[in-house]
């Protein structure tokens, strides 16, 4: 996972580059929480453009980061959802809570 913080907009972008399952989320979660705490962003965006596989671990990952960012005064958004990622997010209903954005 790559991350970039834009100081001017207080925007933190995570570009996930690995397959998302119960194994990989452990590392993604640790890194994301560390950086959210470090930068205290107003906006956190997860970019799924390079995600070739995701199972339900991705739902827990996004809900967990949504709560964590909210707690620290930030908003969470997702972008570049592939068809299979979108299918899983839609099934869980989290897109009613988390907006899809364009960067």
């Amino acid at each position: 996972m790559e991350s970039k913080f834009y100081e001017k907009d207080k925007l933190l972008v995570f570009k996930i580059t690995e397959e998302i399952d119960d194994f990989s989320v452990q590392m993604i979660r640790r890194k994301a929480d560390y950086e959210i705490e470090r930068y205290m962003p107003k906006r956190v965006v997860f970019d799924f453009d390079s995600v070739t596989f995701m199972d339900s671990a991705g739902i827990g990952l996004i809900i967990g980061r949504y709560k964590f960012a909210n707690m620290l005064g930030g908003k969470l958004e997702v972008t570049n959802l592939t068809n299979s990622v979108k299918k899983i997010f839609e099934m869980s209903g989290i897109l009613k809570l988390i907006p899809i954005t364009n960067l």
Binding site: E19, D21, D22, F23, V25, Q26, R29, F53, M54, D55, S56, A57, I59, G60, L61, I63, G64, N83, S84, I88, M91, S92
Partner: protein, 158 residues
Amino acid sequence: MNEHFDNEMKLEFVSKSVNEAFARISIAAFASQLDPTIEELSDIKTAVSEAVTNCIIHGYENSLGIVKIVAKLKGKEITIEISDEGKGIENIDIAKEPLYTTKPDLERSGMGFTIMENFMDSMKVESIVGLGTKVTMTKIIKEQIKKDEDEMKEFINC
């Protein structure tokens, strides 16, 4: 090999979450004999990943055990059985409900069985408390002729 099937494979591995990718990629490679679309293959990989995750996190609760997968092909249908010899499920109906999870602390979404049911054509759960759990799923791969016809129609319309 049981002669009722065209092909069959078995896979056993230790219940470590690093093996989830190995399991879904192996089954996808076996299923590719049926000429699935990328979407059909993606559905199978996701369902396998959910079932294997359940064995590791819930069946064995992250202690070490063996996860077994048997996959069978017949005609255009793949049957996948994924089993563990872990703690078992007390109430399968409750476990299958969307958003139900016994492990919210691990950020589990409770969507595993819902995804398996939606992504496959059938799904059955058998479990005995203290002995283990077996999930049996099937998926019917659409005929290649139909896919070709669809592609041809699209091509002609262009």
